[in-house]
Symmetry: C2
Subunit: 202 residues, 2 copies
Amino acid sequence: MSSKRIAGPEIERLIQLLAKVPGLGPRSARRAALHMIKKREQLLEPLAGAMAEAAAKVTICSTCGNVDTADPCSVCTDPRREDATIIVVEDVADLWALERAAEMNVRYHVLGGTLSPLDGVGPDDLNISGLIDRVASGAVRELILAVNATVEGQATAHYITAQLEDTDVKITRLAHGVPVGGELDYLDEGTLSAALRARTNF
Amino acid sequence: MSSKRIAGPEIERLIQLLAKVPGLGPRSARRAALHMIKKREQLLEPLAGAMAEAAAKVTICSTCGNVDTADPCSVCTDPRREDATIIVVEDVADLWALERAAEMNVRYHVLGGTLSPLDGVGPDDLNISGLIDRVASGAVRELILAVNATVEGQATAHYITAQLEDTDVKITRLAHGVPVGGELDYLDEGTLSAALRARTNF
């Protein structure tokens, strides 16, 4: 907006807030606001209602750390899922991504981040004790550590593994390799080397 | 989302609505929803409120066709602007773009589209009679036709010019030329040819 006001404060505030939404910048926030205003009944009003409802109802699942409108969440209470396997992820976004990718009837556990001593994030800041408790409950046979392939992610994976040393739960991690559709030329050496070591029969 | 539900219906509905916002697709809508939920107090709640307020208050200015929370709008009531010049635009987005670009203390007139016989859009479907009335009021000395450089935009410009033939208002249009920062190599021939014809002293 220029210094001269060209729209009421309500519209400028809407644009300012929309610009904070990931995926929208100041320019696209204006475009989005205008589009919403033009589609008041089809988009602006329903979206305002949906947001207010989500804001009122959203909660963190006390079992797995997922975000939902119920506690325990839809994943934890789903009777079609088996308790034997838990996929451990850093963030709810990873849970959603894995659910889209794979047809696995498993449970999840959201850590809420990774160990990062430099940022002051220790084991107590993550949802790790909850994971230990779930494993101790006995139903879990395999823990798939689907943490990011970063230094922090791997450190977190090692910490969790160490904590569960005395249990007989099987701990696995995601395979490293060439992304499907990826071009070798653009891959880093670590990934290529890992893909070579883990080669399979054709 | 997969067929299995991983979040409550309120969250899925929020994602579905967000995916309709220009600039967001299904994937970024999920990311945006998750970000909002995590920033409930800073983003989700204020945004829900701002949207509800905008939905309740937004109106179309009966003078110029601008979108605002007041009628007449902030532009039409701004005492620092002069009535002598009106910039005619197709859409409110064009008004906003021109306001960002230029420090001109002018008024605007939003047509709400362009003449398009094939789509059944005639002069009565656009805010043209309102423009004629404003010119007839006598204060307007120049009309800048800032319509898009499309066939429909130019046809609309010609129609308006014909309607105002008997008045002594000066009618101008935006200059054609090379976009600032643009590379000649990528420009179409029409633009290059127009830029050549309208060349200025260096």
